[in-house]
Amino acid sequence: MPSEPGRPLYLDQVALDFPELKIVGGHIGYPWTEEAIAVATKHENVYIDTSAYTVDRYPSELVSFMKGRGRTKVLFGTNYPMIMPQKALQSLDSLALDAEVSEMFLSGNAKRIFLCDD
């Protein structure tokens, strides 16, 4: 099937129409990573998860985003059973995330988005 309909930019209209809806874009949005970052930056209700990627394959622009202004916006995911959690997280230390970013990425953002009832 074609990949183009999966472009992150198509979430822009959904996010505009439904600002109350929390939207998590899966699988990073590669190869449109900057586009995914742009949509997540623009909209308070849009987030990105890292499923289908091992840590060593995260695009550098996503890592920069996670460490900086996107620290509340990126969620850890595996797409298990495609990738086993242990393999996904093998190179986690190489990201050199500070404690706050690490906590938000690995669980804090997911807890806030999925597990806190508004």
Binding site: M1, G6, Y10, V24, T78, M84, P85, K87, L89, A110
Partner: protein
């Protein structure tokens, strides 16, 4: 704590579906022949230090690879570790809305996973609007 935001506890129908053929070739996942116990998924989570996983159903037009009821049964085996995510056929918006409500009100799911790409469609197609409205 580590939470995995996108996972599936696979059924045989899911893991052996032809749409994953290229993925199986690439990742060299062996083809199982019997249903995989939830304990195996929990064991994999333990190996990776993952405390909780959001496990999703997988429903598409004419195809239910992992049903919402199956996900509910997996979650029931380990409710402190697994969190249910529903899936609906978004090409049938009225039925999809009913099922989204069931996932929320009866099955206790915390999210719905929507795969417009599986329909060859982008997320901003008008057909999907009732589902997005219902999910707010």
């Amino acid at each position: 704590m580590i939470i995995d935001a996108w996972a599936q506890h696979p059924t045989l129908r899911h893991i052996n579906d032809p749409i994953f053929d290229s993925l199986r070739r690439w990742t060299k996942i062996p083809t199982p022949t019997s249903e995989i116990p939830v304990s195996m998924t929990l064991g994999m989570m333990d190996s990776g230090g993952v405390d909780k996983s959001l496990i999703s159903a997988w429903v598409g037009p004419g195809k239910v690879m992992i049903s919402n009821d199956e996900v509910a049964s997996f979650v029931a085996e380990a409710p402190d570790r697994l969190i249910g995510v529903g899936s609906v056929d978004i090409s049938k918006p009225m039925k999809a809305v009913q099922e989204i409500r069931r996932c929320d009100n009866e099955l206790g799911f915390k999210a719905i996973r929507v795969l417009p790409l599986a329909l060859g469609s982008s997320a901003n197609r008008p057909t999907f609007l009732p589902c997005f409205h219902c999910m707010c």
